[in-house]
């Protein structure tokens, strides 16, 4: 699985998925921790392809969306399910921490 690049007007669709949870990564090209997070997201998206959709959005290209979701720092990862924000993580996360967090969220939200 890859991390899909989307624009602000696509967030709603991405967030409304119900058979998986969705992670939207708000980041910027000038942000060091965002660059460090990219390979982590790629790896975790491979491992959790069955339960999590991964999206990436550039805050500079999408200032209105950043404002709407009250993004005041990057990277910020918002996790959605069925259109609702269910978690928000700020700053760099290593692979273990991110994967554990997402597995827990997927287990609590998805009926198998």
């Amino acid at each position: 699985m890859a991390v899909k690049h989307i624009m602000g007007n696509e967030i709603e669709d991405a967030a409304s998925v119900t058979d998986k949870i969705s992670l939207v990564d708000f980041s910027a090209t000038w942000c060091g921790p965002c660059k460090m997070l990219d390979p982590v997201l790629r790896n975790v998206s491979d491992d959790l392809a069955d339960t999590v959709e991964f999206y990436h959005i550039d805050v500079d290209e999408n200032p209105e969306a950043s404002s709407k979701f009250c993004i005041r720092g990057v990277p910020t990862m918002i996790v959605f399910h069925g259109g609702q924000e269910i978690d928000r993580m700020v700053g760099f996360k290593d692979r273990n921490a991110l994967q554990t967090q997402l597995e827990g969220l997927a287990e609590s939200k998805l009926t198998r």
């Binding site: 910027a28 000038w30 942000c31 060091g32 921790p33 460090m36 390979p39 982590v40 950043s66 009250c70 993004i71 005041r72 720092g73 990057v74 910020t76 928000r88 700020v90 700053g91 760099f92 290593d94 692979r95 273990n96 921490a97």
Partner: protein
């Protein structure tokens, strides 16, 4: 060096035996990696928590000898490139635990287990939290520990900076270029920061310093809207948009607590600068109890630690 990289033992197919593991990704680890590679010590650097360490998040470094000014991100990227050019080997993995096993150290990192003849602990430190009401709730919604990362979100805004050391003042100066108004609160009546930095902040046009003042509470709705301060004149509410915290650092030493002696504040107890209570474990940079914590001291520690490992392995 009579140990070769490879699969060993029957219990785990992921056990690898090496001469040296370097845990960390900041200047101390990068310097240790450069020296280890040049000493031809068989090693792996396990980069964890935050590649590049705290230095990578520093907007401008002006006190690294030989380089007038450079961004922290560029400096650590150069260090890594230099170490790699000498053969340093990096792997992105978080160290979960490190324990002594006979005369070796067993290191668990993510899904891999390593056996090493020596270890350099250079995992650095993360920003400490102040522990005030609202701090966790508004983290990422106006509360930040990284001006370099988040300053652009506060253009023409009013922000609060908490702290009085080098980091607080340096990052306040960076923030002042973005915001319309900056208030810095410090619990003492003078800065601990370098006088040059302190003077620069005191003469900054949009900066205001409140001495003998502490942050009590952060308030808001979706994001930060105001703070409650304890000032010498009593409690005061200040309307603003963001809060940047620089109130110390928490060393990332928990995985090593069963291997080496730690101080009460979590730093690794050291003697002869980089030696720990365990003879084949060394510590470098912000994890140590050495007083001065700068990029220049971290790289010095890293070099000393790699040199000590080289001597030990002979």
């Amino acid at each position: 060096m009579d140990f070769k990289t490879g699969l060993v033992g029957s219990s785990s197919s992921t056990d690898r035996e090496l001469d040296l593991i370097i845990a960390g990704g900041g200047p101390a680890a990068l310097s240790a990696a450069l020296y280890a590679a040049r000493y031809d010590i068989e090693h792996i650097v396990l980069e964890s928590y935050q590649p590049g360490g705290q230095a990578a998040l520093t907007a401008l470094i002006e006190n690294y000898p030989g380089i007038k000014t450079i961004s922290g991100g560029d400096l650590v990227a150069n260090m890594k490139e230099q170490a790699e050019s000498w053969g340093a080997v990096f792997k992105m993995a978080s160290v979960i635990s490190a324990v002594p096993l006979k005369d070796r150290i067993q290191i668990k990192a993510d899904s891999s287990t390593y056996m090493a003849r020596s270890l350099i602990i250079a995992t650095g430190a993360a920003p400490a939290k102040l522990g005030v009401t609202g701090e966790d709730k508004f983290y990422g919604r106006g509360v930040s520990y990284c001006a370099t990362c988040d300053a652009p979100f506060f253009r023409n805004a009013h922000v609060l900076v908490v702290g009085g050391g080098d980091s607080a003042v340096k990052e306040a100066l960076h923030l002042s270029e973005f915001v319309s108004e900056l208030t810095l609160v410090h619990r003492r009546d003078k800065f601990r920061a370098e006088p040059y930095l302190a003077e620069k902040l005191l003469s900054c046009g949009n900066c205001n310093v409140m001495w003998n003042t502490t942050l009590k509470e952060i308030k808001g709705d979706e994001g930060v809207q105001s703070v409650i301060l304890n000032t010498p004149e009593g409690e005061k509410e200040l309307e603003l948009d963001g809060v940047f915290m620089y109130v110390g650092r928490k060393p990332a030493t928990e995985p090593f607590s069963k291997l080496v002696e730690l101080n009460e504040n979590g730093t690794v107890k050291t003697h002869e600068i980089v030696r720990t209570s365990k003879e084949n474990a060394f510590a470098a940079g912000d994890v140590t109890d050495n007083e001065l914590r700068q990029v220049v001291t971290a790289v010095s520690d890293g070099a000393r630690a790699a040199s000590a490992v080289f001597d030990m392995l002979q």
